[in-house]
């Protein structure tokens, strides 16, 4: 083999002659290695935590679920009476309450969020756009418990007066509160979805003489549909998982609601209301973990689905 022109030594097979000089393990190499390991562990921590959440909740709940709980009876039972003897764990009122309140919240949030996203993304320009975005961001930052106080002290009398009903803490109240809480996040995600539509599409439509509204309605919205669906899904996830605001605004009545003026209880609020008084490791305590597991599985599915919608969309664009 010919000697290398750089060092005069014969080159080893397949490696440039200076490879060895670069590859020696000095202090820089070791600090690089240590840093790499540490940040890798940081990255792993996200996986670790989500796995740990699932494991902890599942192990607390599963044993009870397997041996002492009839799942069918739990999902369809209309009575949730964990403190009487013998305790009855029928989660139907909680599931129905969650569904009612989330439904009302979405009826309010979807038009508001999409309208705001379309205006901010497609019509507003310059300073006005910046200010509206800041407003949305501020709305999203209001803490859950403050929303609860609004439901309790402001919405309650308004609902009693406007609709002439006795109970002001009901499905409607909690739905409005949750709708307003979920709308800013949905608006942000929906606006991202609109932004992801390439400008060349808009320009092509405008070149054909379409007005801005026609561009939005015929070109941008159909193209952004997966992203908008993801926004709805994440909004549902948010409304569904909200705890303190719902506990304060829904009236927390453990019965299946029959209209939007009935008080109701949700899965999240029930855990929050009862975890403090349930004996650690007891049946009631484990039952609450079963509800937590249910919440975890449903939100996990919603998040995966939304993520898949957004990513699938990006790949095709």
């Amino acid at each position: 083999m010919a000697p290398s022109p750089l060092t005069g030594e014969p080159a080893s097979a397949g490696q440039p002659p200076w490879a060895k000089a670069l590859d020696h393990r000095d202090r820089g190499w070791w600090s690089d290695f240590a840093a790499r390991t540490i940040v890798w562990l940081g990255g792993m921590s996200a996986i670790l935590f989500i796995a740990a959440i699932f494991l902890f909740i599942a192990t607390q709940g599963l044993e009870f679920m397997r041996h002492r709980l009839d799942i069918g009876a739990m999902l369809t039972g209309a009575r949730w009476e964990p403190t009487v003897e013998p305790p009855v764990y029928g989660a139907l009122p909680l599931i129905a309450g969650t569904a009612w309140i989330t439904g009302v919240a979405m009826l309010i949030a979807i038009p508001l969020a999409f309208g705001a996203a379309i205006y901010i993304g497609e019509f507003a320009r310059g300073k006005q756009r910046e200010w509206l975005k800041i407003g949305i961001e501020m709305l999203a930052a209001i803490p859950s418990v403050v929303w609860g106080v609004i439901g309790l002290h402001v919405m309650k009398p308004i609902i009693q007066d406007v609709f002439g009903v006795q109970v002001g803490l009901n499905v409607l109240n909690a739905g409005i509160i949750l709708g307003l809480m979920a709308a800013p996040i949905m608006a942000t995600i929906a606006e991202d979805a609109l932004k992801a539509v390439p400008d060349s599409y808009r320009e092509a439509a405008e070149a054909l003489g379409a007005t801005r509204w026609q561009v939005v309605w015929k070109v941008v919205l159909p193209h952004a549909r997966p992203g908008l669906s993801a926004a709805v899904l994440l909004g549902i996830g948010r409304a569904f998982g909200e705890t303190i605001a719902v506990l304060m605004a829904s009236g927390h009545r453990l019965m299946v609601p029959e209209s939007i003026f009935d008080s109701a209880a949700t899965l999240t609020a029930t855990i929050a209301a009862e975890l403090g008084e349930a004996a650690v490791g007891g049946d009631h305590y484990q039952m609450l973990f079963v509800l937590g597991l249910l919440l975890f599985v449903i939100t996990f599915t919603i998040n995966l689905l939304a993520d898949w919608l957004v990513r699938g969309r990006r790949k095709s664009a």
Partner: protein, 294 residues
Amino acid sequence: MTSTSPFAATAHEGTKLAVQQVARFGFLAITLLLLIPAIGILAVLVIEGAPGFSLEFFLDKPRDNGAAGGIATALVGTVWLTACALALALPLGVAAAIYLSEYARDNWLTRTINVAIVNLAGVPSIVHALFGVGAFVHFLHFGKSILAASCTLAVMTLPVVIVATRESMQAVPKAFREACWNMGATRWQTIWRIVLPNSGSGILTGLILVVCRAVGETAPIMFTGAVFLRQQFPSGIFDKTMALSLHLFTVSTQVTNVPRHVPFAVALTLILVVLSMNALAIWFRMRLRGRKKW
């Protein structure tokens, strides 16, 4: 030639433009409809809560289960919880962001981490509370303490730090890194000297958002370390403590005969902290965006 300019709008085009105007104002109205509650809430809180504001309100400890006195212990407790959560979440989150932005390849592991982050952010806060009770309070034997509550908050806010930091690190141009590598710097030297200093705004935004979340959350701390009433200031991380958010929940639902202005005053305090932090984050972002020229 009276009116037939070749560029005049035809009747059809006129209708199109009218529809466009209607759509524009319709959507503006919807946007404002969303923002009016925000302003309304702020107005109500200020009108109802401001009379409760006084120096004593911030410096006194609560009396009568919170119906009288001030919020001093709750304020101090919230500072403890937030500081501890920050100390845990920030290093971990920044490390994860460095890995994802600078080292990770596009493979199944990275995708799994991303899915985990999305789900960690999406899991309901009460599920985080259950996890905190199971893992930190009982399994690790922290008991009901500031430590357990802060750990729960840290797990919950981790995605916020990761996402904010990762985004600002990815905004640092590739050419900066290449220039550094060409000088013979290792990957870590490049990250430490070039990438991190240039993404300080993102880390700071993450920090502020964590503070906002940690201050406002109630469900994750009410079973892991925060208590309804406690007259002493916490003296260490194994103490229980009061917290502003839980105190607001207590005075509005658990205690009877609370004067009407008390919950509003506590809520106003809470929202002023959160909104001013948020405004700070927004101002920061704008200033840096205005200054950056790449």
